[in-house]
Point group: C2
DNA sequence: CAATATATATCGTAATACGATATAATAATT
DNA sequence: AATTATTATATCGTATTACGATATATATTG
């Protein structure tokens, strides 16, 4: 059985590996967005609007929740997207406080390409990520077991 | 069999869900780092230094590669970390161009807490992430199948 | 109808990674 | 050994962008 110090080292190595894989994916994502002429956050916003669950109102607040940003950050982001012709900001028909975001035809075109790329890349990344996650789970359980 | 449009929608929904889970994890990570008194990037840097593979020289360049940043960004980041007492910058004994980064005892203490937290959180997130990835894989294969 | 809550918006600021560039040290080439 | 090329780190100014603080408008509740 390995010494606790060695085990801790291994656990850090696994976490580091996981973060590295994650970062690789995010880098890939950023690059593809750039190549498509979008900023990464613009891409994400489009995705969450076009990929909202059926029947959900895609308001600024909804997007903020999905992106993990404050709403006023999304106000700004969505305006930049509107300027870029990727989406339009439509006042809500009933509640006039709200603004509904809708992806334009052009936005959809770009998003389609990006989504295909991302699915492909995730397919490649999948084994690495799952392996890292599995290792993390194992070493955690092992550690907890020892504590008793 | 579902219409292509419906399928596309589903695929976007899955990708959106995946990004959401990912963002949740990253938010969690940021918050924990903050609570521990670190900036997120400081945490990541520590992790990649302390969690480097055995025998690797943890130079600025190494860290840059792992973090997916330009080296000069890591110069700045590592200096901020040094000021915060999280690591020290040691000139390489042989190659005097290089600077080796070493985590301090304090840095290790903080990192240990954060790593435990992250392992726990990843344990919770794991099923969601894997499920998303699996769905992405499936819909991708399905789509490719249809193209023939 | 007043009070409170919610949704979006504005503006100034701070953080930080980057590009362009510089300096130093090592390696390669002749 | 001298010259050139490459590698590693460093400096500095800049641009992006999300944020906090705050404001405004609308909706909801007592």
């Amino acid at each position: 059985m390995k010494s606790p110090a060695t085990q801790d080292r291994k656990r850090l190595q696994t976490l580091s590996e996981f973060r590295y894989s994650l970062r690789q994916f995010l880098l890939f994502s950023e690059q593809r967005a750039d190549q498509a002429g979008l900023h990464p956050q613009q891409h994400q916003l489009l995705l969450h609007i076009a990929g909202a669950p059926d029947g959900v109102e895609t308001t600024v607040s909804y997007a903020a929740a999905r992106l993990g940003l404050r709403h006023h950050s999304v106000v700004e982001l969505s305006k930049r997207c509107e300027e870029a012709g990727l989406l339009i900001r439509v006042p809500h028909s009933e509640d006039r406080r709200r603004v509904v975001l809708e992806v334009t035809a052009m936005g959809e075109r770009v998003l389609r390409v990006l989504s295909n790329d991302h699915e492909r890349e995730l397919g490649e990344l999948l084994p690495r990520l799952i392996e890292s996650l599995r290792l993390i789970e194992n070493s955690r359980k092992q550690k907890i077991g020892q504590q008793r």
